[in-house]
């Protein structure tokens, strides 16, 4: 089998990005069909990666001098990235039509950012990781400040950029320490060289580990590296916020998992301690601060921080490579990422639909949404319940798998903190439901909300999948259990 076909999903994303960008430059007339071209690119990429996942035998290996890993774990994130790209493009259509004229640039950056998520997930070398990491960061900065006449957006982009560059720099420093200790940038080689390492040299690896976590923590919005996120989420164009909240976090988790499991398996005890601390902080702080938020984008930002904390539990509870474990931390993470993807993007779709109509993101403006659009209010309930983790929705399956993994590895303390947090989270998610259903509506705001086709497609699809993953979870769990192959050299 030619290796090249494993690059096809990425190449398609990249190619469609170049096409969208290039065609936009030719001629001065407005090209209304550009978003559809971008959409077609992501759909083709999704189709190819699904085909590769389901019908092509994957030989786990690294290629191109150990730079790139080919394994089912990477394929999972190819699917993830293409899915995110497609949904974000659909979410952007109406929103961007009204606010910006430079469509080509916008969609090509969305494609580029999605491409870098998938590149990040296949990187098996520190240099490659850093390149992909920066590619994702830079395209995210640009997207955040894309509406240049919007003061809040520009402020958000600058904050994000300042914070991100410091985090990247620290991560790079950590990488250099790791290189200094092991004389290699290849993850597999690093693991090998670390396995028999002199105990005095371990003291160089610890700071390297912490510095690496600064970078990964910033991408996965783990407390205390989360400070950029509420401002960036609030200021960014809402579809971009959705991208940051789901896509960017997914990319962060992909690389965090690969580095920890294949690069630093000998330091598992140490990174488990570090990550469980981050997880506890993220869950607790994210949830407590989310309670007092009045803007729904900020609330979703803080809730995303808390959700990242739950996902980190899965990594902490990773029980090694042995098979046959029902509650396995890694499959917990992947299923959680999937359910989080559909539920959170669905929630953002509703936020965008409301914002397009009434131009506000205040939670109090969701009052009486059930009267203005039963579809929006009804599906929003499903998304929020999934984020709480109520059975019947995908969120429950995610929580069951992650908490089960924690119990399985006897991290009872983490599991208990996680459930306390789940109850706290119930409060602010219900607050939105309260406004939508219980608050009476002011007379002038009684207008119905009409949905465009692209938005209703996203909302109905994500809602259907949220319920499907809760009720017929089996194929989805099988899917993630088939995605656990990580090439370890």
């Amino acid at each position: 089998m030619q290796i090249i076909i494993f690059f096809l999903p990425q190449l398609v994303l990249l190619l469609s990005m170049v096409l969208v960008f290039g065609i936009d430059l030719v001629g001065s007339n407005e090209k209304k069909w550009l978003p559809y071209l971008a959409l077609a690119g992501s759909v083709i990429s999704l189709a190819i990666s699904l085909y590769l996942f389901g019908w092509v035998e994957v030989t786990e290996q690294t290629v191109l001098g150990g730079m790139i890993a080919i394994d089912s774990f990477a394929l999972f994130f190819q699917i993830f990235a293409a899915l995110v790209a497609g949904i974000i493009i659909l979410l952007s259509m109406e929103y961007m039509d009204e606010r910006s004229s430079s469509k080509g640039e916008y969609y090509s950056f969305i494609l580029l950012a999605s491409f870098s998520i998938s590149l990040l997930s296949v990187s098996a070398d520190l240099i490659m990781i850093f390149i992909a990491f920066e590619l994702l960061s830079i395209s995210s900065y640009i997207l955040t400040g894309f509406l240049r006449n919007d003061g809040k957006g520009s402020e958000a982009a600058i904050k994000y950029f300042l914070y991100g560059s410091i985090a990247s720099a620290m991560m790079l420093y950590g990488m250099s320490l790791l290189y200094g200790t092991t004389a290699s940038t290849n993850l597999g080689q690093i693991a090998q060289n670390l396995s028999g390492i002199d105990s005095s040299l371990r003291w160089v690896v610890y700071p390297a580990l912490v510095l690496l976590m600064v970078g990964f923590g910033y991408k996965t919005v783990a407390v205390p590296f989360h400070q950029w996120s509420p401002d960036a989420y609030e200021g960014a164009p809402t579809p971009v916020t959705a991208f940051l909240a789901v896509g960017s976090i997914g990319g962060g988790f992909a690389i965090l998992i690969r580095v920890m499991l294949t690069g630093l398996p000998d330091f598992q005890v140490d990174w488990v301690a570090l990550i469980s601390a981050l997880s506890i902080l993220s869950m607790t702080l994210g949830n407590l601060v989310a309670i007092s938020q009045k803007n729904i984008k900020r609330m979703l930002a803080y809730s995303g921080i808390a959700q990242a904390g739950y996902i980190l539990i899965g990594l902490v509870s990773w029980g090694g490579w042995q098979a046959g474990n029902v509650f396995d931390g890694l499959s917990g993470i992947l299923i959680y990422l999937l359910v989080y993807l559909v539920a959170n993007l669905g929630a953002f779709a509703v936020v965008i639909a409301v914002e397009n109509k009434i131009g506000s993101n205040q939670i109090s403006d969701y009052a009486g949404l059930i009267k203005r659009s039963p579809l929006l209010a009804g599906t929003m309930v499903v998304f929020l319940l999934s984020l709480i983790g109520i059975p019947g929705t995908g969120g429950f399956v995610g929580k069951l798998m992650v908490f089960g993994a924690a119990m399985n590895m006897e991290y009872y303390f983490l599991a208990v903190i996680a459930i306390i947090n789940s109850v706290i989270a119930g409060f602010y998610y219900l607050n939105v439901i309260r406004y939508m259903f219980f608050q009476p509506l002011d007379e002038p705001a009684r207008e119905k909300i009409k949905l465009t086709r692209s938005l209703s497609a996203v909302i109905i699809l994500t809602c259907a999948f949220t319920l499907l993953m809760g009720i017929f979870a089996q194929p989805f769990i099988q899917f993630v259990q088939a995605s656990l192959g990580i090439v370890a050299n």
Binding site: V326, G392, F403, R434, F438
Partner: protein, 515 residues
């Protein structure tokens, strides 16, 4: 393959909910009547199950088992024994009555109301038939959301506060239960409730089994509710719409007690016995619930809140009965056959109380709703002398109230009698204190309800002032139709308790046969 009766009884309401969703909003009457009439199907199935289960109530019938999520060992498992059958009859009966009553009383957002209520019924029935922990948990939580919305949309003045309190309390309990379920799975390797109970998880390690026991116990205690986890109940009951209160008191509280009997007692007999006898935390909490609940009723002037607190008190009998049964296992020397008999009687009383309290308090909440719809006040002092004006209503309230205070010849008597007959033999001190509750109950029903509302002279001027000239009409036909099935059951069970007890006794005997 046999007809899947249990799937049918559980998911018919779901099908109805989807039908309701399809019927256009403008056809409100279609929604109302279609739901009410079609909800007779699950009721008929429940009665059919009740008849079939008579043959051997201690065993599981109509078992269904399909693989659901094999990747994590989760099965679609259902089965009914005598206890589940009785609870199914209660659930389907009260649901149908609520649909019928709501035809005349719910005027706004009819479609949403019926949709949510039907989903709620799915959750309740599902809990009583599922035999797989995850499956059980799914149904346990499904009921939460519609109830939250029912209180929040159709409730009284403080409905928002009450609804969120209800949701968070229950969520907290069920999250603890989820961890305990996972722990039991990791210990026994199965989510099957019966097999897990037979495997006696953590039997060798008292500390672990005690932790798992408390995780389950607190989850169920919040729902029962047992003091000090009861504070959500008065708010939720008071603010909920009439039908919501009926289902809350009638069925939802029973879910907790059902969990104690079905899951906690068989699976953790040792810690349950230990905390009932050696370190008697549970009977103390039960007795506090009984006496404290009754005392609050004495001081309560809001009629609906009074009934709500009476539920705390009456559900305390259930806890006392179950804990007496558990305590018998810790008696020195096993206590002999006499102790086993007493334990079974106590457990029968507790299970019977689930049913009788369901129909009696369900009825009381209907009755409160009826008077509130006329007067729009719930203050007991605003009424007075209604006995002569509303004789029919007076009569029905008398029967229901007397059933509630345990008058012999009516349903409430037998469950209380059995509970105390069992408890006196095993834990006489707590039983003796608990009996005080019966005295107080008689006091507040006779004094507060009968005397203040119905006796004395009717004062037209005061009536006009507090009710803003409400019309004084006696029970309407639909109200009579709603109440009569409940009243008939109260009398029937009062005269012939074996109707229900035979089934429950089969379950209790089978349970104690395993110990």
């Amino acid at each position: 393959m046999n007809f899947p009766v249990l799937s049918a009884i559980t998911f018919t309401p779901l099908l109805l909910a989807l039908i309701v969703l399809i019927i256009p909003k403008s056809k409100e009457n279609w929604i109302r009547w279609a739901t009410t009439i079609l909800s007779l199907i699950p009721l008929a199935l429940a009665i059919y199950i009740y008849i079939v289960v008579q043959a051997d109530p201690g065993k599981m019938h109509f078992m269904e088992e399909y693989s659901w999520i094999p990747a994590i060992d989760v099965y679609y498992r259902m089965g009914v024994d005598g206890l589940s059958a009785i609870m199914l009859v209660l659930t389907t009966l009260l649901s149908t009555l609520c649909y019928y009553y709501a035809i005349y009383t719910i005027k706004n957002r009819v479609k949403e109301f019926y949709f949510l209520f039907l989903i709620l019924q799915v959750g309740m029935s599902g809990v009583f038939v599922s035999l797989d922990f995850i499956f059980f948990y799914v149904f346990w939580e499904i009921g939460l959301v519609p109830m939250y919305l029912l209180i929040g949309v159709w409730g009284g003045e403080r409905r928002i506060y009450a609804s969120i309190k209800f949701f968070l309390y229950t969520l907290a309990g069920s999250m603890a239960m989820l961890l305990a379920i996972i722990a039991v799975y990791l210990e026994t390797g199965t989510f099957n409730i019966l097999e897990a109970a037979a495997a006696q998880p953590f039997a060798g390690n008292f500390v672990l089994s005690a932790v798992a026991f408390w995780a389950f116990f607190i989850a169920f205690a919040i729902k029962v509710p047992i003091f000090p986890f009861h504070t959500w109940l008065p708010d939720a009951h008071t603010e909920a719409p009439t039908t919501g209160s009926v289902i809350l008191a009638g069925v939802l509280l029973k879910l907790g007690a059902y969990g104690l009997i079905r899951i906690v007692l068989p699976m953790f007999p040792k810690p349950f016995a230990y905390f009932s006898y050696n370190v008697p935390i549970i009977p103390i909490l039960a007795v506090i619930s009984i006496v404290y609940g009754a005392l609050v009723c004495m001081a309560q002037w809001d009629l609906k809140r009074l009934i709500a607190y009476s539920s705390v008190s009456h559900m305390g009998y259930v806890t006392l009965g179950i804990s007496a049964a558990a305590a018998s296992l810790a008696l020195p020397g096993g206590g002999g056959p006499e102790a086993v008999t007493s334990a079974i009687i106590g457990l029968n009383g507790a299970s019977l109380q689930l049913f009788t309290h369901g129909i009696i308090t369900g009825g009381l909440f209907f009755l409160v709703g009826m008077i509130y719809d006329r007067t729009h006040t719930r203050q007991i002092k605003d009424y007075g002398g209604l006995g002569s004006k509303l004789p029919y209503y007076y009569g029905i309230v008398m029967v229901t109230g007397f059933a509630s205070l345990g008058l012999p010849g009516l349903a409430g008597f037998w469950s209380e009698f059995f509970v105390f007959r069992g408890a006196f033999a095993i834990m006489p001190v707590y039983a003796a204190i608990g009996v005080l509750g019966i005295v107080f109950t008689a006091a507040y029903i006779l004094w507060k309800i009968v005397q203040f509302i119905f006796l004395g002279d009717f004062d037209q001027e005061k009536w006009d002032r507090v009710t803003h000239n409400a019309e004084l009409t006696d029970m309407k036909t639909f109200e009579k139709v709603t109440m009569w099935p409940l009243v008939i059951l109260m009398v029937l069970i009062g005269l012939y308790p074996s109707l229900v007890v035979r089934l429950l006794n089969g379950v209790s005997t089978a349970l104690f046969g395993n110990f």
